[in-house]
């Protein structure tokens, strides 16, 4: 691998990310499965970086999952998107930051389609007024939340209490990145680093002291496939695609997987559980899995957040070996406690996966 070759491509795909005043829009999956990640993102940007990042209670889903499951027409999803944009403008913002990759891809596609077919944009504008009495607007900058963390990765490194380094050996942790397909595969220029060698997560990992490991199936989809996961009869597709990725990354012995898409960490985590419980195969050391974390969780770890505040207990793959390597202090007895130490039981143990 020739590192300089990648650097050249990275320099070709730099996108403009504004400095401040962001309108934040949540992700359905991230809220459902990783609520602490979004909370951490807002805490870092607002309180650690001092940015103005606004959220309105009135925003909704963008409809992306329903759309990519082919349950609603394109015109519907475009009008919902127009409504989100209108809320942004109504609140005096023009920098739109979304937490979801499916949304991000859909926003890019929508804006591009409007640009190419102005008559469609006019139709959506009319739809928006008829249904919501809102004024049509478009963001000046469209960015994914991981773009923001990427932009401030060095400031985060400056405030970090630890690095992505194995404290016992002094070696950098080997990190595998997984970029959500809709981040830049459709519009390479909209993503930091492009579609083939995205830099958005690599930049974070490098800034925080880890070592990125490239592996053959890096670009392959996690296997979500919308309908291919939601319907039980289709889940073999989803599982098999993740399996293909793990078989490919196995020889590289990664310590950690970092992701920027809401669904991917869920699938990369849970499919390891299913593979372990149904075949006995595990991919980490001694029967453990490889932790698949969100970029907010990784940022939180290097900045010294408590792992249970970050929600790492809601991963099925145990994160303790990673925490031990990084030298993160944690109290095992507090892992599954509710707020203020409330006892809410704990999950049953797995048969195979540690």
């Amino acid at each position: 691998m020739i590192y300089e070759g990648k650097q050249k491509i990275w320099s070709d795909y730099q996108k403009e990310i504004p400095d401040d005043h962001y309108f934040y829009v949540r992700s359905c999956i991230r809220q459902s499965f990783f609520p602490a990640s979004e909370a951490t993102f807002l805490d870092i940007t607002r309180n650690k970086l001092g940015k103005d990042i606004f959220e309105t209670e009135h925003h909704t889903t963008c409809g992306g999952i329903a759309y990519h499951s082919d349950t609603i027409p394109q015109e519907t999803v475009m009008t919902i998107i127009a409504r989100q944009f209108a809320l942004m403008a109504k609140n005096g913002y023009e920098n739109y930051v979304c937490s979801c990759i499916t949304s991000f891809g859909l926003y890019c596609e929508t804006m591009e389609t409007w640009r190419e077919y102005p008559e469609l944009e006019a139709k959506i504008r009319e739809n928006l007024w008829k249904s919501c009495k809102l004024e049509f607007a478009k963001p000046k900058f469209l960015i994914h939340a991981s773009d923001l963390i990427y932009k401030y990765r060095n400031q985060i490194a400056a405030q970090a209490v630890r690095k992505l380094v194995n404290v016992h050996t002094g070696e950098p942790l080997k990190v595998v990145e997984h970029i959500g397909c809709h981040y830049s595969k459709m519009f390479p220029s909209k993503g930091v680093g492009g579609a083939e060698y995205p830099y958005v997560l690599v930049g974070m990992v490098e800034a925080w002291g880890g070592e990125i490991v490239d592996y053959p199936e890096r670009r392959h989809c996690c296997g979500f496939g919308f309908r291919q996961y939601f319907i039980k009869g289709n889940r073999g597709y989803s599982l098999s695609n993740t399996h293909k990725k793990f078989e490919s990354m196995e020889p590289f012995k990664p310590d950690l997987i970092i992701t920027n898409c809401p669904g991917c960490p869920y699938f990369l985590d849970r499919w390891q559980y299913v593979i372990a419980e149904s075949t006995g195969k595990t991919y980490g050391q001694d029967g453990h899995g490889i932790p698949a974390l969100t970029y907010e969780e990784v940022a939180g770890l290097v900045m010294g957040y408590d792992p249970w505040d970050l929600g790492l207990q809601t991963h099925q793959v145990g994160v303790e070996p990673l925490l031990d390597k990084m030298g993160v202090p944690y109290d095992p007895s507090k892992k599954y406690l509710g707020k203020n130490g409330k006892d809410i039981g704990e999950p049953l143990p797995c048969a195979c996966l540690k």
Partner: protein, 109 residues
């Protein structure tokens, strides 16, 4: 082991790393023309058995190359050795001999 109601799905991806070179060398020693097929499909187009069964010499040759030996045999199983294919092959391959050779080399028996 837990039954989730679904599981890993078999892959259909051609993996050329599985190509059995030794067997293949045996085949081309027997019938060197195995190497010169252009995959034009003339043989399959006129195949008598192919009208009623999934018979295709073109596919069988492809399968041999693609390390899908079983599929190759399957694609020739119903061949009657009528020889129409040898009349149309633009590369003049002795197709009947090739079919017999493939069957001989790749049969499990």
């Amino acid at each position: 082991m837990v039954d989730f109601g679904f599981g890993l799905v078999p892959s259909s991806r051609i993996n050329l790393d599985l190509f059995d070179r030794e067997k293949y060398e045996k085949l081309v020693a027997m019938e060197p023309d195995a190497k010169i097929c252009m995959a034009c499909g003339s043989c399959t187009a006129v195949c008598t058995a192919g009208q009623f069964t999934p018979t295709s010499l073109r596919e069988a040759i492809e399968d041999v190359f693609n390390a899908k030996d079983d599929k190759a045999l399957e694609a020739l199983k119903a061949c009657q050795l009528c020889g129409k294919c040898s009349m149309v092959c633009p590369r003049g391959i002795n197709t009947r001999h090739l079919i017999l050779s493939i069957t001989k080399v790749y049969s499990k028996k």
